[in-house]
Structure formats: C-alpha cells, structure tokens
C-alpha cells in the first residue's frame, strides 16, 4: 500500500479529507515531538520555566486530538470509507489517542522538574534513576520519530524497527527501578523525592509503550492485521513474513 492510494478516489472530497487526516496526525505527532524536546531540555537543565511551557503546550495537543476525532466522525458519517480508507480512520483515531496520552506523560516529566526546582534547584541530576529517566525519554523520543516517519511513508517495516529500542528501554527501566529501590532502603528520608522520580520513570517508560501502540496501528493500517496482544513469538513470526 502506498500513500497515494488515499488520494486516488473519484471523490475529491474524500481525497481531501483523508489527506487532511493524514497531515493532522503528522502535525499532532510533530507537536508531541516538540513537547518531548522541551521536556528533555527541562530535565537536562533543571529548567522549571521550560517545564511550565511543556504543560501549557499540552492543551494544544488535547485540542488536536479532538479535532482529529471530529474529522474522523465526519468522514465516517458522510463518506462511508471502506477497506484501507476505513483502516486509516481507525488507525488515525488510535494514533491520536496514543499521541494525546504521550502528551500527558510528558507533562508528568515536566511536573517533576517543577517540583524539584522548588525544593532544590539544580540538583535533579543527583537523584537515583534520574540519568535513566533522561535516557528512556531520549529513546522514546527517537521511537516516536521513527514511527511518525513510518506513518508518513505508510511503511510497516519502518515502524517495526522500534522493537529493538523497546527492549533496551525495558532493560534501562528495570535497572532504574532497581537503583531507586536501593536508594529507598539507603536513604528512607528521601522517599518523597524518590517516589517523584519513580512516577516520572514510569511516565517515560509509558512513552515508549505508546510509540509501540502507534507501530501496531501502522501495521494494522498497512497490513490489515491486528498485532495487538500478540505474544513475542507470534509477533516475530508475523513480522518475518512481511
């Protein structure tokens, strides 16, 4: 399947609407990428001002999701899309939900920066798990970029290339959890801050999960196959066939 198939209908209105949906997803994805860049910058520089901007920006992302929903409803009610067009609508709705949730998770990272900044400006990096937090967020940022590019090219193969990254994220997350747990034991007086870091770690790990969901939606769009909830073995077999 190629992207041009979405603009080859007799109805120009349907062509326009599908193209609009396509571009909306890319644009919304771009917004989340930018929000993630800002959050990373806030994390690395313990910059509460940028972190506040991240939270403010989330409202725009929420609106983008609603706009995409409205357009999907409109196309479903008025154009009766079929086959790959119908899959595009469903994939679009799912991807918009994942992007919106990514925006929410990014806000949790920003809130951590704001909280730490208040308590102890400039010392974030000293907390256990903080380095891993930046690492996971950077990797999730890369995964999002790869999936958005794959969506733009309507390529299931490109989307699947994030699977290796997801494994690395899981390993780093496990390591971070271990570090933080050890710190819990060693410095119980820091429990509050460590819990904040845990929450942010969880949020950054969820970012990669959402990128994975987007990959699944792209596979569904391109192959018409629902790979959600497939165990690793079946998924590997399926991916080998593509």
């Amino acid at each position: 399947m190629q992207k041009k198939e979405f603009s080859s209908h007799i109805s120009n209105q349907l062509n326009r609407n599908l193209e609009e949906l396509f571009n909306h997803i890319l644009e919304m994805g771009g917004m989340v990428e930018n929000q993630l860049d800002m959050a990373l910058s806030a994390l690395e520089n313990a910059d509460a001002k940028v972190a506040k901007e991240v939270i403010r920006f989330d409202k725009i992302i929420n609106q983008a999701e609603m706009e995409i929903d409205r357009l999907c409803i409109r196309v479903l009610a008025r154009q009766q899309p079929a086959a790959s067009d119908l899959r595009l609508i469903l994939a679009t709705i799912r991807i918009a939900i994942d992007l919106e949730r990514m925006g929410d998770e990014v806000c949790k990272l920003a809130k951590l920066v704001i909280k730490f900044h208040k308590n102890d400006p400039g010392v974030c990096a000293n907390y256990a798990g903080y380095a891993e937090l930046v690492d996971i967020t950077t990797r999730s940022r890369e995964m999002l970029k790869v999936t958005l590019n794959a969506f733009a090219r309507v390529s299931a193969e490109d989307a699947m290339s994030i699977l290796d990254q997801e494994d690395v994220v899981d390993q780093v997350y496990a390591k971070a959890c271990k570090n933080v747990t050890e710190q819990f034991k060693k410095n119980p007086e820091n429990v509050e801050s460590l819990l904040e870091v845990m929450t942010a770690l969880r949020a950054s790990e969820r970012l990669s999960d959402h990128a994975l969901n987007i990959m699944e939606s792209i596979i569904y769009l391109v192959q018409g196959k629902d790979v959600r909830n497939m165990d690793q073995e079946r998924l590997t077999k399926f991916l080998e066939k593509i």
Partner: protein
C-alpha cells in the same frame, strides 16, 4: 510555541449555518394538495445559494413534490392546488404574472432516468439555446463545450458530438442531461434522483460533478440514498408524510440530529 499552533482547530467555527448564508429560495407556509389529499404541510425553509441541499425521506414523503414546486412542474398536474409563498431571489414564483418558461430557464431540472432527445450529442446540449433563438454558431459551440466540460463529459464525447445521444452509456446520458440543463445557465438546478438508474462508479462521477457545479449553481437534490445525501450535500432536509421534520447542515444531521424521528430514519430504525 505559537508557530506550532497552525493545526486547524476551527471545525466548530467552520460549521455551516443557514444564518450566514446568502438565501436563493425561501419557502413560506407552503401547502400542496393533490385533489383533497394534502401532500405538503406548512413547509417553511430557506435554501442557500451555491450550496447543495438534499431532501431525504421515505417514499411518498413529499420530497419530489416539493422539488417540483420550485419550477412549477406541478402546474402540469390538473388536480394540484397550492397555498403559501415560494420566493426565488425575493420574487414570488407563483405570481399569476410569472412567465413559467422564463422561470424554468432560471430553475433547470434533471430527472431520475436519463432522457436525452433522439438527436446528436451537440443538439441535445444546445436545445435550450435554440429554443431561445440563439443562432450565433460560435456562441453555440462555446456553450456546448462549456456545458459538456462542466458536466465532466467533454473528454469522452468531444470527437463524436454528431453521434446520436442514445449511443451513450446510462451514466454518460445522465451527465449529458446535466450538461443540457446547465447550458442555459440556470440559477438553480433541481436533481430528482439523478443517479438511481446509474452504476456505482457513474454515481460517484455524477456526485463529484454535483460538488463541482455548486460553485456556479444552487443545487437541490432529491435522493432515496441517504449516504448519497451525506456525501454530496451541504444541508439536508428530512421529510416525512408531507412535513419538513428536520433541516440543518449535513454534518449535524448525520452525526447528531435533534429529533429522534430523524435519528431513527438515518440509522435504519424507521418503520
């Protein structure tokens, strides 16, 4: 971050609203009777210019009857009597002094079955112009080409304009009838089930044509096919037993109708 907000988040404000439209036709307290049987009851509506308005509803609900009121086609039926007012650009269509032929030049019509005359393709399209006694060959040629291009048929027939129109396929014949109707440059185009005799691909071609034609004409379409109304129209009127039940922009009617009766009909729960 302002450069990132180019995302169009204005669909609510983009929504069509009759209040913001230029009105071409206004129907006021319109009643129509076939003998003693009332077929239309107190219809009030404003039809916007350069938009497609679709009429949907079950058989016998009065949608075709209403459509035929706009160019007084019902005058041809003896038993018909009417009450109320229909204004075309603020001019009363049913005034006794109204020149009905002139009215029908302003309000063209295309019927369910393609009905080309047994003449050449060229003569079919310029028939209305010849009736107006236009003889200028260049003008006729230009208008025929314009109308056939407008009806998205030019490329298919430009090399055989002298051939009999009946040699065309059903879909081509219907587009020819649309070309014939627009050749006299009416203000309003009435389409009464224009695609019910056509195959799905020809139907989509005609629907696309309707979408293009609204740039120049006000289009009113009666269709049994709800999905077609959803695809082509800007506004939709749902009629039932001679009443105009709900009339609003097509987005709203097909996603969030006000009345349960409309919801039941468009979601197939009617009856």
């Amino acid at each position: 971050m302002s450069e990132l907000t180019s995302f169009s988040m204005n669909s609510e404000s983009d929504k069509l609203s009759l209040e913001n439209e230029d009105i071409a036709i206004e129907v006021k307290d319109w009643n129509l009777y076939y003998g003693s049987k009332q077929a239309l009851t107190g219809v009030n509506m404003k039809l916007p210019r350069n938009r497609v308005t679709a009429f949907i509803g079950p058989s016998g609900c009065g949608k075709s009857t209403l459509l035929r009121c706009f160019n007084r086609m019902n005058d041809l039926i003896d038993s018909v009597s009417v009450e109320g007012t229909i204004l075309l650009d603020d001019e009363d269509v049913y005034l006794k002094t109204m020149d009905v032929s002139a009215l029908r030049r302003r309000v063209g019509m295309v019927f369910q079955k393609p009905n080309p005359f047994p003449k050449s393709i060229f003569e079919n399209v310029c028939y209305g112009l010849r009736l107006q006694n236009i003889k200028n060959k260049q003008l006729l040629n230009e208008t025929v080409e314009w109308a056939l291009r407008g009806a998205n048929l030019w490329d298919e027939v430009k090399d055989r304009l002298d051939e009999n129109a009946l040699s065309l396929s059903g879909g081509q014949q219907q587009r020819l009838c649309i070309a014939r109707a627009i050749a006299i440059k009416p203000e309003v185009l009435l389409l009464d089930e224009p695609t019910s005799a056509l195959d799905p691909i020809s139907t989509l071609a005609v629907e696309e044509l309707i979408f293009e034609l609204k740039k120049e004409f006000t289009i009113l379409i009666v269709t049994h096919n709800m999905q077609q109304a959803a695809r082509v129209s800007d506004y939709t009127a749902f009629m039932y037993m001679g009443d105009l039940v709900e009339y609003t922009d097509t987005d709203t009617l097909f996603t969030n109708p006000k009345l349960k009766q409309t919801e039941d009909y468009i979601s197939g729960r009617y009856g």
